[in-house]
Amino acid sequence: MGHRRHPWGTLLLLLPLLPAAQSPAADTSKLTLELERLEQRIAEERKSWFEFKLQAKSEAERAELNAAFPRDEFVAELIALARQGKATDVAARAWIDVLRISGWVEDRELHSRAVECLLAEHVTSPHMGTLISMLLYGAPAWAAPVAADALRKIMAANSDAGMRQECLAELALLLGTEATFGEAGRTEAEALLRRIEAEFGDTDFNAMTGRQFAAGARNESEHLRVGQVAPDFEVNDQDGLRFKLSDYRGRVVLLDFWGFV
């Protein structure tokens, strides 16, 4: 993962490595340590459990496995820590962890509870960057409206100009490309892109100018949104054979954009 046109694309790999921002208001080092130990236990538990889940053959089996993960116990511990560290960095992190667990076990109720709590109590926190990437990267399609709502709230309340700018850009992309927002979403996306052109047109806008970003986002909304026929291409494969994407009409195709790290 390296050079990318949008720096926050690199967040995919970097986020887990970022040091947690510390709240200067309270000494939370003890709580942080506790949280880290708990996170470690959760990660260990998840590892073996997820191996099983990958091998599940049916929805029933998946549901059974989802129910078998000791979520209640972990969530209770996380929430207890969040209460002790109320309004601090520890609480934000703990709720982010709850959100993560809700994704693993596909618990939408827990998912919205975590998002609501994060937006209600931590909307000004630097951890909102993590929330955004969790709601956007690798997120299920049903989470798109949740993500849009979160982006609007963070954009309105967070004091970090970079974060607000990221929200603006991501919101424009999301509304313009997800089927669920329909025509109204695309209209709003266009208005946001105009705003980006007006406010950031010539300034450095995440490794490109705002105008370039807007042009790219329009292309994405027009040609790459869900429901559009994928743009055809003709290229060589690894054996030097030429082929077209349209050669595969009649088949389900998964395009995997990747590279050796």
């Binding site: 995919l12 790459l224 994928a230 690894q238």
Partner: protein, 111 residues
């Protein structure tokens, strides 16, 4: 690369289905070296070599790729049905592919 074992399982499991897993390899490099490395890693599915000069290839710009992994799931008409930036979870990918294959099977049965 964490996802590679899962890709192999997926390709192998669905090899008799009307399904194509298509790698979009978009980084600069010598095509021969890339092919050799793919062979070494037992990558036996087709990969579009979309090689850029100093960056990612031209296809990657057309497809607005902002980092990898990134996936697009297309139905039998070539229509984009899902897109993921980042890894949505191996199980999520599996199920989306299977759901689309089931849809296709149902359509074919009607004809």
């Amino acid at each position: 690369m964490g996802l590679l074992p899962h890709k192999k399982v997926l390709v192998e499991r669905l090899k008799d289905q009307p399904f194509t897993f298509l790698g979009m390899f978009g980084r600069e490099g010598d095509p021969k070296e890339i092919a050799a490395r793919m062979k070494k890693e037992n990558i036996n599915w087709r990969n579009a070599l979309d090689l850029g000069e100093a960056e990612d290839g031209p296809l990657w710009s057309t497809w607005a790729v902002r980092g990898f992994p990134q996936f697009y799931l297309l139905d039998e008409q070539g229509v984009i049905r899902q897109r993921w930036f980042g890894n949505p979870g191996e199980d999520v990918i599996d199920r989306a592919v299977e759901a689309l294959l089931a849809e296709l099977a149902a359509k074919s049965a009607k004809k």
